[in-house]
């Protein structure tokens, strides 16, 4: 029984308390505020809207755990989406077959990996600050996308692409399934694999990680490559959801992904934090958005409330730390 309790604690540990409390608060407040909130429709809309932001947040998560940041994720997603779109267009546009889609997706993931590879190499070998490297990569990718598309959008995809953005399997939206798969994969990668262990080590103290025999350069390059690949997955989902690709789609998500990570208890300096609390934090953000929407607020007010939520959580964390000090 004790083992079970320990297991429970390991999964829903102390870092889950904040996000779960916020989740409960959101459910209770909006449950009372709007009779339509606790219905299937709300959760359905959340399930369809969550994945884009969620997958992008996972792309942001691993670099933050190493003490860095990847500001290029949204435009990596755009460029990956463009790659897939062009592959489909080159193979007949609306009439393209599943083979073209698979090829395009593979190329899209490769493009994402390439973007991450370049950033990882620069960060690992020159010790340039990740914020700067990813920032210049972001400016470059945005420019590249604008240059190649001339600011326009690309649409007209085969009909079998749409279900990836809008379809359901056994009542569960396909994009949500992709997100859950990514969450589970990230969780296993970070908590079970050598790469995950090295990621936390680097985030805690890169010098001691190096002295303890971890090939820090290799790990950093891999982390940024993985981040690029996950961003590319988000790009594919966005292509299917909007049925078009446009440079700048999802740009406003960039700082929200950082916000979601911090809300999920990730240490901004790296080294500490887990995937599951971040997932719960994402659900909270999206429920807040739907709840406010039901009450007649628009997306911009939601953005403001997300920011206020982050401040409130940080202030509460400060109070609780102070309280613990006094009790001791």
């Amino acid at each position: 029984m004790n083992a079970l309790a320990a297991r429970f604690n390991a999964i829903f540990g102390a870092d889950m308390a904040g996000p779960l409390a916020a989740l409960a608060a959101v459910l209770v407040v909006f449950g009372f505020a709007s009779p339509h909130f606790l219905t299937g429709a709300t959760f359905g809309s959340v399930a369809f809207q969550l994945p884009e932001l969620g997958v992008l947040t996972l792309a942001m998560l691993m670099p933050i755990l190493t003490g860095g940041l990847n500001l290029a994720i949204t435009f990596t997603a755009n460029i990956a989406g463009l790659t897939l779109a062009w592959t489909l267009q080159a193979n007949g546009g609306i009439d393209a077959g599943p083979g073209a889609f698979l090829l395009g997706s593979a190329l899209a993931l490769a493009v994402g990996a390439a973007s991450g590879l370049i950033m990882g190499l620069v960060i690992a070998f020159t010790r340039a600050h990740p914020i700067l490297v990813s920032l210049s990569m972001m400016i470059f990718l945005r420019g590249l996308g604008e240059f190649l598309t001339r600011g326009g959008d690309i649409s007209g995809f085969p009909t079998f692409v749409a279900p990836i953005g809008h379809g359901s399997i056994l009542g569960i939206p396909v994009p949500l399934l992709i997100l859950i798969a990514c969450v589970i994969a990230s969780h296993i990668l970070l908590s079970r694999s050598k790469l995950g262990f090295s990621t936390y080590m680097i985030g805690s103290n890169i010098e001691s990680a190096r002295y303890s025999g971890i090939n820090t350069r290799k790990v950093l390059v891999l982390v940024y490559m993985l981040s690029g690949v996950v961003a590319a997955v988000a790009g594919i989902i966005m292509l299917a959801r909007f049925n078009s690709v446009r440079v700048g789609h999802g740009e406003s998500y960039l700082l929200i992904t950082v916000l979601a990570c911090f809300l999920g208890g990730i240490n901004p300096f790296g080294g500490f934090g887990r995937v599951l609390p971040v997932f719960v934090a994402l659900v909270v953000l999206q429920l807040l958005s739907s709840g406010l929407n039901l009450l007649g607020a628009n997306q911009h007010l939601t953005t403001a409330v997300w920011g206020i939520l982050l401040i409130v959580v940080m202030v509460l964390r400060w109070f609780s730390a102070k309280f613990i000090r006094i009790v001791k």
């Binding site: 620069v122 972001m138 604008e146 401040i311």
Partner: protein
């Protein structure tokens, strides 16, 4: 000379790159090396340089701010509304209102960071969303076009007719930029508070033990950025002759890239006004040169991004490895991986 170079490596390198680019552009385009173009460059860069010197102060003190461009948008909007309320006003009231609101918004960041010990990047990402969300919510995205005449009419400080009949002009934003740059330079290099900011950014705990009031440091740094953001917002409204709520959205990252290109260090304690101005100018000159060479505007960002990426790669790889003459005997380059600290 070697000592001077080592102390100001980034500035020298930037200066050399700018000179080299200017020489190439002077020969390849017929308009680059004219007074008119030089003045155009200054007029265009003025707002970004005002932002940049403000951000520099925060970076030196070891913080980072994401929210200043959105704060400037709020300043623009509220100033325009306030001026309408008081029936027009003039430059003095405009500057006072803009500076006041800017300082208040900067102080909010400083308050969150100091009082509740929130890391500056977390706090300013939060306020970025709050500021932008509330601005768009209350304004409903509506722009203001009927600004007072004194604000929208161009103020020409110096003008000269060129041989080809065009006019080379220096306008008000350039003068304001010069004043802001000079004030920031005096502030961070010639005052005790400025030296304390460097010390605080380099080692907050050491600075605290030395008796520096760290709360005051946060409020001064973010207050200064708020002041600069307010002034830059007013200048942007003057330059664009309109107030568009989301016009400055996204500017923060471009300015950040330019400032760090100019040698400021994320993590604090390092950076100079000269480097910061050169960083912004390098980006502007690149865009200007590409424009004059007839390159598609769609390619600007791509090339600028690539240049910044290469520049950061080269400047982070130790200069001593690339140019052995300047290698320091005892490598001081083994700094720990820089981090953004609050």
């Amino acid at each position: 000379m070697r000592k001077l170079f080592l102390a100001y490596t980034t500035e020298f390198v930037l200066f050399a790159v700018i000179i080299a680019m200017s020489v190439v552009l002077a020969f390849t385009t017929d308009r680059f090396f004219t007074l008119g173009n030089a003045f155009d460059l200054l007029n265009i860069s003025a707002v970004n340089i005002i932002f940049a010197v403000g951000l520099l102060v925060v970076l030196i003190s070891g913080g980072i701010d994401i929210s200043f461009a959105v704060a400037a948008s709020i300043v623009q909007y509220v100033t325009a509304l306030a001026l309408e309320r008081i029936g027009g006003g003039g430059w003095l009231s405009g500057f006072l209102i803009a500076a006041g609101i800017g300082i208040v918004l900067g102080m909010i960041n400083a308050f969150l960071i100091h009082r509740f010990r929130i890391i500056s990047i977390v706090a300013t990402i939060a306020t970025f969303n709050v500021y932008f969300g509330l601005l768009m919510f209350f304004t409903k995205g509506v722009s203001i076009y009927n600004l007072p005449d004194w604000l929208t009419s161009r103020v020409i400080i110096y003008e000269r007719e060129m041989a080809d009949g065009s006019w080379a002009e220096i306008t008000l934003p350039v003068v304001v930029m010069a004043v802001c740059t000079l004030a920031t330079w005096l502030f961070i290099t010639r005052t005790t508070t400025g030296r304390q900011l460097y010390a605080f950014g380099d080692n907050p705990e050491g600075a605290r033990r030395f008796g520096i009031n760290i709360g005051a440091m946060q409020f001064i740094a973010f207050g200064w950025l708020g002041l600069m953001a307010g002034i830059a917002g007013l200048m942007q409204a003057h330059y664009a002759q309109e107030v568009v709520p989301n016009a400055l959205y996204g500017r923060e990252l471009d300015v950040l890239a330019a400032v760090v290109l100019g040698g400021a260090r994320l993590g604090g304690g390092k950076g100079s006004v000269l480097g910061c101005v050169l960083g912004v100018l390098l980006v502007s000159i690149t865009q200007n040169g590409l424009n004059l060479m007839g390159v598609s505007p769609f390619a600007f960002k791509m090339i600028v991004g690539a240049i910044i990426l290469v520049a950061i790669t080269l400047s982070s790889a130790r200069i001593g490895n690339l140019v052995p003459v300047f290698a320091t005997r005892k490598s001081t380059g083994n700094r720990p991986a820089d981090r953004v600290e609050g």
